[in-house]
């Protein structure tokens, strides 16, 4: 039976229609149900709990500002949504309210060739921008798994991670400045200093970094000025089979410390994901290939890439790596986005039946020294979960350098878990939430961070965000309450309701 849904007062609805136009205020059930989930694990059995009360599709920052002001006047929650491709729950409404879908804000406003920036609305996608920049010999080098479908507004909202960040940086480096509609409706531009195309400044607080990763709790990004860079003359991807994970781990560190400036990505996959297809009678994958794989990609001018490529090939060969060949390397690299989530390829029931499984990617940031231990603990947590509940499956781990502009130091420890969402119930969902919390605690205990690019918003992990941040979380709460006095922006997220509890307020005053 269809769940009865809440609605907002008719007068507020009328005001929204005056702001956005009749056609861009959606109250029908389909519009609302289709904006409840993002690309992270979703308790589909509780779908109705997460539908917004109304969906609006604004076109300008002024409209967004008016919507937020209205939300304050009517005490309505506001949840921003960009591409809806997030692997954390920033855009999942928890208390209904107004869902602000920014996809219509998709204009490329300016390309400043002299100062090497592009200014765009937040609904612009990275691939679209790079296509637009092609005639100028430029690219916008933010490349998440969702490269062709996520939006720059969402990349700001999550403080995302880019596959080629080792060479070009991540959104926090690539978004030079941006415009935010604050929780009160005021519009500010934040960057390093005041000029919209200034990359580094010592003027005032560096507010860009406060709002980067806001997850909708501090407002809505409505314009961004981003870095554009010279289209690389040369690209070299190379993939190697290695004997075992520890061998891959060691060579990963060696490559990272070679000091190769054109190294945009280096990674280690454990090969477990190939277990399923290998268990079937398929002639085209030979069993010997199901071993861990180390790969790298170089970008730059030809002389740099050719020289660095030879050097890294030699390093990998000396470490026992077996080059998988140009064809595999080029294909794997070209399909790096598309291979992100393929439910059938991941999903197996215990009886071997192929089932569609959502492939969740947990994305902790972990110091290099801790990776082997964390990987073992991660595997234990998920294997234990899957033993108790058939709807979960341990799939694989992947490791990538986490920082910008150079490899080494801390790494993105990606853990992939298959979830048979169709069969989720309250019991299995509670087990998942507990597992998320346990995984987060492991990351924290080993000096890491719960998430390197998706966000710490999901059920379970969010409970231990204060544990990760320590007293800094108290500062976060103060900032939240100061900027969002009525708690209208994405309420309930990141544990920030605590900012409005009387005890905290008393402490503050």
């Amino acid at each position: 039976m269809a769940t009865a849904l809440r609605s907002i007062p008719d007068a507020a609805l009328g005001e929204l229609r005056s702001i956005c136009g009749e056609a861009f205020v959606l109250t029908d059930r389909s519009a609302r149900f289709n904006r409840a989930r993002v690309s992270t694990a979703f308790p589909v059995h509780r779908w109705a709990d997460f539908v917004p009360d109304v969906v609006v599709l604004p076109a300008t920052a002024a409209e967004v500002s008016d919507i937020v002001r209205l939300a304050n006047a009517w005490s309505l929650p506001v949840v921003p949504r960009a591409g809806g491709t997030g692997i954390s729950d920033g855009a999942r409404p928890l208390r209904g309210g107004i869902l602000v879908d920014i996809k219509r804000m998709d204009q490329i406003l300016e390309v400043d060739l002299a100062n090497r920036t592009a200014t765009v609305q937040p609904g612009v996608n990275m691939r679209v921008l790079t296509d637009y920049l092609r005639p100028f010999g430029l690219i916008y080098p933010d490349q998440p798994g969702s490269y062709s479908q996520s939006l720059i507004g969402g990349r700001i909202g999550t403080n995302g991670w880019s596959m080629v960040g080792g060479r070009y940086g991540h959104p926090r480096d690539l978004v030079v400045s941006f415009e935010m509609v604050l929780p009160t409706g005021d519009i500010v531009r934040v960057g390093d200093g005041g000029g919209k195309s200034i990359r580094k400044s010592s003027s005032g607080y560096q507010l860009k970094h406060l709002f980067m990763g806001h997850q909708g709790t501090l407002g809505i990004a409505t314009e961004a000025t981003v870095e554009v860079v010279t289209r690389p003359e040369c690209e070299l991807p190379a993939y190697f089979a290695v004997e075992d994970w520890m061998a891959g781990y060691r060579v990963l560190g060696t490559i990272a410390h070679e000091g190769v400036a054109t190294l945009s990505r280096v990674f280690l996959y454990d090969g477990w994901r190939l277990e399923y297809p290998l268990s079937e009678p398929l002639d085209f994958i030979s069993p010997g290939q199901a071993v861990p794989c180390v790969g790298f990609a170089l970008h730059g001018i030809e002389e740099e890439v050719r020289g660095a490529g030879k050097r890294l090939m030699r390093v990998l060969s000396q470490a026992g790596g077996r080059y998988l060949g140009d064809e595999v390397s080029r294909f794997e690299w070209a399909s790096r986005y598309d291979r992100y989530i393929q439910p059938l390829h991941l999903g197996r029931a215990r009886d071997g039946q192929v089932i569609p499984m959502y492939g969740h990617a947990q994305d902790a940031a972990i110091p290099y020294s801790e990776l082997p231990t964390v990987r073992q603990k991660y595997e234990q947590i998920v294997r234990s979960l899957s033993e108790r509940h058939e709807v979960f499956l341990f799939e694989e781990t992947a490791v990538h350098p986490n920082g910008a502009f150079r490899a080494g130091g801390d790494y993105n420890m990606e853990l992939r878990v298959g979830i048979w969402e169709q069969r989720l119930n309250d019991e299995s969902w509670a087990a998942w939430v507990k597992a998320k919390r346990d995984l987060a605690i492991v990351a924290i205990e080993h000096g890491g961070s719960i998430s390197n690019g998706h966000g710490t918003v999901c059920d379970g992990e969010v409970d231990v965000l204060p544990l990760e941040l320590g007293h800094a979380f108290e500062v976060m709460k103060k900032i939240k309450r100061t900027l969002d006095p009525n708690n209208v922006m994405n309420p309930g997220k990141m544990g920030l309701d605590a900012a409005y509890e009387s005890e905290f307020r008393d402490d503050d005053t």
């Binding site: 029908d28 491709t85 998709d106 969702s146 479908q149 399909s335 390829h345 569609p356 499984m357 169709q422």
Partner: protein, 414 residues
């Protein structure tokens, strides 16, 4: 556009709804489980409206929500208007691209859209313009492609006036409604080309609409009835082979008709574009007259994305002397469309116009003077979009160019 109530009274699912959901549950859940939305940048409608309800993701998610009793057909019927059934979403989906062969799986969003439109009609939910269009088609036996001007069975073969084409025979040329009444230069070109190359063919005794558009808009009973008529006509005239000059008909004859008639449907369906490519290749059709144009090719969605036919049109273009051909690869064109398919221009002409405007803009970036299509349903809207521009891009059908290069007249009848 039909409006949707905010909080409808929950209604018991109809038997028809249960059948549709059962059939499409697995496919919809594969999409819903992945949630990666690679399809959305491909989708010509979503590119324009930027409304997630108009995305392939939503078309699949709706099925999941209906299965769980949260949405009913009355909630989602208008979502499914927003699709040209181009198939870009299916072919771009990583589930199709990377694991489809292994698991014999291909995303089937177009079929889901068709099924949900059919369910809407069966449930008494009609989109106003589609209802009028299909009623008119039912009355006149051909689509009302001339607006207020009457189309009728009496004039369905008027395009062939003066060509002296026989009726019946083993090979029948099926002439699409848009071609028969609106762009008669296309069937005249095709007839001239086939005759020149020595291909014997006849026309139907009484040609009704193929029924494909009705099937695309959800009027399945009508589609089936029209199909039955056409098949009966083919059998009555001893036809074994049907030549098809329009990709939409090609879909109807290779997908809808086999579903309707099963193994009894034993006609050979030949796409004219592929036949002409073969005739040129075999030297049976010589292209000797230079065509001094700078062209690009608009990959017809139903050929490129739905049927994987992209080589033959290019082979033909490369065989035309004098032509400068500035190609855009077929994969890039997965994201292109004219917006002219699956009834979108009937119910949402504003969206079709914008989709076509963007397509022509892409062509104009190549500094061409002619946009060549192999889909007659795209040409009206692309031409309208081109006519709004100052650079005067000509929109022509591939067969019109071939006729010109073969030195054949394709003057349309008045």
């Amino acid at each position: 556009m039909a409006t949707k109530p905010s909080n409808p009274e929950p209604s018991a699912s109809s038997e028809a709804e249960r059948e549709v959901l059962e059939k499409w549950s697995a496919a919809a859940n594969v999409c819903f489980s992945s949630g990666h939305k690679y399809c959305q940048p491909m989708c010509p409608v979503m590119q324009v409206t930027r409304n997630e309800n108009h995305s392939p993701t939503a078309f699949n998610a709706n099925v999941v929500a209906m299965e769980r009793g949260e949405l009913g057909i009355e909630d989602v019927a208008s979502d499914y208007v927003h699709c040209t059934q181009c198939g870009g979403c299916e072919i771009r989906c990583p589930n199709t691209l990377f694991t489809g062969d292994m698991y014999r799986f291909r995303l089937r969003t177009v079929d889901i859209v068709k099924a949900m439109r059919a369910l809407a009609v069966e449930s008494g939910i009609h989109q106003p313009a589609w209802e009028v269009w299909n009623r008119a088609t039912d009355e006149r036996k051909n689509e009302p492609v001339l607006g207020d001007l009457e189309v009728s069975q009496e004039r369905v073969a008027s395009w062939a006036d003066g060509l002296d084409l026989p009726i019946g025979g083993e090979t029948i040329l099926f002439c699409d409604c848009e071609a028969a009444f609106y762009r008669t230069s296309l069937p005249r070109s095709v007839a001239a080309i086939l005759s020149c190359a020595g291909v014997d063919f006849g026309l139907m005794r009484e040609q009704w609409c193929c029924g494909g558009p009705a099937a695309e808009m959800g009027y399945m009973e009508q589609a089936r009835r029209f199909a039955q008529h056409n098949v009966d006509d083919w059998r009555a005239s001893g036809a074994k082979r049907i030549l098809v000059l329009d990709p939409h008909d090609y879909i109807a004859f290779t997908e809808d008709y086999p579903r309707f008639f099963g193994n009894e449907f034993d006609f050979e369906i030949v796409l004219v574009v592929e036949l002409v490519a073969e005739l040129i290749r075999n030297g049976k059709l010589e292209l000797t007259q230079p065509v001094e144009r700078v062209v690009t090719y608009h990959d017809a969605c139903r050929l490129n994305k739905r049927k994987g036919i992209y080589e033959a049109p290019r082979e033909i273009l490369r065989a035309i002397p004098g032509l400068t051909f500035r190609d855009v690869d077929r994969v890039t064109q997965w994201a292109y469309c004219s917006g002219g398919g699956a009834g979108l221009p009937i119910e949402r002409p504003d969206l079709t116009a914008e989709i076509s405007r963007r397509r022509v803009e892409k062509a104009a970036e190549l500094e061409i003077d002619t946009l060549v299509s192999a889909c007659v349903w795209s040409e009206r809207y692309l031409a309208a979009a081109a006519s709004e521009r100052e650079d005067a891009i000509d929109v022509v059908d591939l067969m019109e160019l071939v006729a010109q290069a073969a030195g054949l007249s394709s003057d349309p009848v008045s």
